[in-house]
């Protein structure tokens, strides 16, 4: 599947208003010349103004199979607002959730993946682990920030920090619109909603219970 070039991305952003199914939205693009370069095949995205960290003292361990996990985890989080011009310090081995400054809306025929800009990676910053952006996704992208270096890093909202690559999606002619994401149209980053995988959790928790769920004899 071909990756979209800078020129095609510009067309999709600013010349497809009358074609809602093909329209790509990435807003704001503060500096189009630098963020979508001709000859390259990505859009640079910027760091947003909110950072969420957990108070470790409030959490014993993360039991991801606890149905109340999402609520318990959310209660132990704190979000910092860091206006553009100020900074957030990410200490070595520290984990924080950030977000992109840009709000994104993907058309049905494009998918994307995000990667840390290599200049940041060389300083030890790892940004995205959930790199896939599905067709039809809308909202800001949540960034999982981690500092793998030995020295604290100052992060400045507004800096270009990652790249979004876009590629075509092939689908069957009669295929329905893809299911909206759990995080659809959100304007703020937030913790994962593992509690929504309740069916999967229940199934896994039954694995060890041979008494209630005895193995079938073949």
């Amino acid at each position: 599947m071909p990756v979209q070039s800078g020129g095609v991305i510009r067309q999709r952003l600013w010349e497809s208003f009358d074609q809602p199914l093909r329209r790509l939205v990435v807003t704001p693009i503060l500096d189009p010349g630098r963020q979508i370069k001709e000859g390259e095949a990505s859009i640079d995205l910027r760091l947003g103004v909110r950072f969420t960290v957990s108070h470790r003292g409030k959490l014993g361990e993360i039991d991801t199979n606890n149905p109340d996990f999402d609520a318990l985890f959310a209660a132990a989080l704190h979000t910092y607002y860091v206006p553009i011009g100020s900074h957030f310090v990410l200490h070595p081995d520290y984990f924080a959730l950030g977000e992109t400054l840009e709000y994104i809306k993907m058309p049905e025929d494009l998918a994307g993946y995000v990667v840390t800009r290599s200049s940041w990676g060389r300083h030890g910053l790892v940004i995205a682990t959930a790199v896939g952006v599905h067709p039809g996704y809308s909202g800001v992208l949540t960034l999982e920030l981690r500092n793998l270096a030995e020295v604290p890093l100052r992060l400045y909202p507004g800096r270009s920090i990652l790249q979004l690559f876009l590629h075509d999606v092939n689908k069957l002619a009669d295929e329905q619109r893809l299911r909206p994401s759990t995080y659809e149209a959100g304007t703020r980053s937030g913790p994962g909603l593992l509690g929504r995988d309740a069916g999967e959790m229940q199934a896994i928790s039954r694995f060890g219970d041979w008494k209630k769920h005895p193995p079938r004899l073949s």
Partner: protein, 466 residues
């Protein structure tokens, strides 16, 4: 006879010093909090310095044997004054308990600054959450100085700025972005307060002597009428002054934010009190909404006192839902209004109603520097922004010309039109319930306010040499 040290004066001073020291700890704890600007911390330092000044004066009093042991009326008055000043200091400080970035509406600070900028270049704003469902305005630095002056105490410490406005919003409803359009009414309080010439506004409204006479004639026989007349005049003038201030702030709010201000008022005010109930401080909600409708109709070119149809509104408000909402409320407020009665509040309301055009002219001439929102000028922009909300993206920029930054007030107006018209189609498109869709629209509007400010600042900074 040996002089007895101590006594009740000494106890009183020691208690006040202990309170002031506890207050200092409170200030220190507040300073450790996270704020989205330096101003709250600067204000806390200022209050700390004033508090230190009070403690030093109290220590002096304590060392003054003449006062402590023999009594000294003048010094006793000082003690009462310092205590009063301290009480006020505590009340303005407690506002800053609710300024933390995570609890406030950071998207609104730049918008309010920009709206007030033509009026006051050196204005600094503190937005704080209120524990009640209300909006408020205060000028803590001037108030502190005024109170100190009236108590004949000098406050030598320097405040962070001469022009600080502290604006409160309902702390339990930070996400109700659209209703926060009412913050422009609070800016109005700041403007009325600082614009001394606005004090003459109440002179534009004349209370009919005939109505007062009729009211006095209604007192039971045997009750002397002259004192009743005097009391009524004083009362009516006091009520008139308060009401004219509120109406002037509504007019300024509407001037700054246009129809969004009327939408927000209709959503917020009727939840506070019955439509026709008035108090000494506030005119009835029916009167306030009715006057706002008159402003809107004058703007749209309709007769201000005529009740408009839904179709007339639809020509201007793009979507049927918003037009129907306005039409319904116009009929409810104006066509169903009861006639003015023979009671003091109705007499003041009628006087304001009849003198509104004169009042409007007087306010307009005093606040010419403010940027006036003209719905007609922005209709095309609002239409595009509603289209973006319909497409489920924040309306921070225009589609045509591409990347043009949207006006923040147009964003609020587009947000209201979407809120009143697009809930059903968006719910069905995304599979959301009504509540989720309404929250999403408010979030997109808040995000758009944040992003348009970033874009605007980017352009300003870039055009100043990168």
């Amino acid at each position: 006879m040996a002089i007895q040290s101590g006594g009740w004066r000494d106890h009183l001073i020691r208690a006040q010093i202990a309170r002031s020291r506890a207050f200092k700890d409170y200030l220190t704890a507040l300073r450790a909090r996270e704020f989205s600007s330096d101003l709250p911390r600067e204000l806390l330092s200022f209050y700390d310095a004033v508090n230190d000044g009070i403690v030093a004066k109290l220590q002096d009093l304590r060392g003054d044997l003449l006062f402590r042991d023999f009594g000294d009326d003048a010094a006793e008055v000082h003690l009462v004054r310092y205590s009063e000043l301290y009480q006020f200091l505590y009340s303005v400080t407690s506002d800053l308990e609710h300024v933390e970035a995570s609890r406030t509406i950071v998207e609104f600070s730049p918008l309010l600054h920009r709206l007030a900028l033509p009026h006051s270049k050196d204005l600094r704003l503190v937005l704080h959450a209120l524990p009640e469902v209300n909006y408020s305005w205060a000028d803590p630095v001037s108030l502190l100085r005024d109170i100190a002056r009236q108590l004949e105490i000098s406050v030598d410490e320097s405040p962070p700025s001469r022009n600080v406005w502290s604006i409160g919003f309902p702390g339990l409803q930070p996400g109700q972005t659209l209703v926060h359009t009412l913050l422009s009414h609070e800016l109005g309080h700041g403007i009325v307060h600082s614009e001394s010439s606005l004090g003459s506004l109440r002179a534009q409204v004349r209370i009919s002597a005939e109505r007062i006479k009729a009211l006095v004639q209604g007192v039971p026989p045997g009750v002397p009428r002259a004192p009743v007349r005097r009391f009524l005049r004083r009362y009516l003038n006091r009520v008139l002054g308060k009401w004219v201030d509120e109406i002037a702030c509504d007019v300024i709010g509407y001037t700054l934010t246009g129809p969004a201000f009327l939408f927000a008022s209709i959503h917020f005010l009727p939840a506070l009190a019955a439509l026709d109930s008035a108090s000494q401080e506030y005119p009835s909600i029916r009167l306030r909404l009715s006057l706002l409708f008159r402003l809107l109709k004058a703007e749209l070119g309709y007769s201000p006192r005529e009740v408009c149809t839904d179709a007339q509104y639809e020509q201007w408000f793009i979507k049927e839902g918003a037009a129907r909402f306005l039409g319904e409320w116009d009929r409810h407020i104006n066509a169903d209004a009861p006639p003015y009665g023979d009671n003091p509040h109705d007499i003041v309301a009628e006087a304001i109603d009849q003198s509104f055009e004169a009042l409007l002219q007087a306010i307009g001439s005093k606040v010419q520097r403010l940027r006036r929102y003209r719905f007609t000028d922005h209709r095309d922009q609002v239409r595009q922004l509603v289209g973006r909300l319909d497409f489920s993206v924040p309306p921070n920029e225009l589609d045509q010309p591409p990347r043009a930054v949207a006006d923040a007030v147009c964003i609020m107006n587009a947000g209201w039109i979407a809120y009143l018209s697009l809930v059903e189609p968006l719910s069905s498109e995304h599979g959301w319930d009504e509540w989720t869709t309404r929250s999403r629209i408010e979030e997109w509007v808040a995000k758009a306010l944040e992003l348009q400010e970033v874009q605007r600042r980017w352009d300003e900074v870039s055009s100043n040499g990168g």
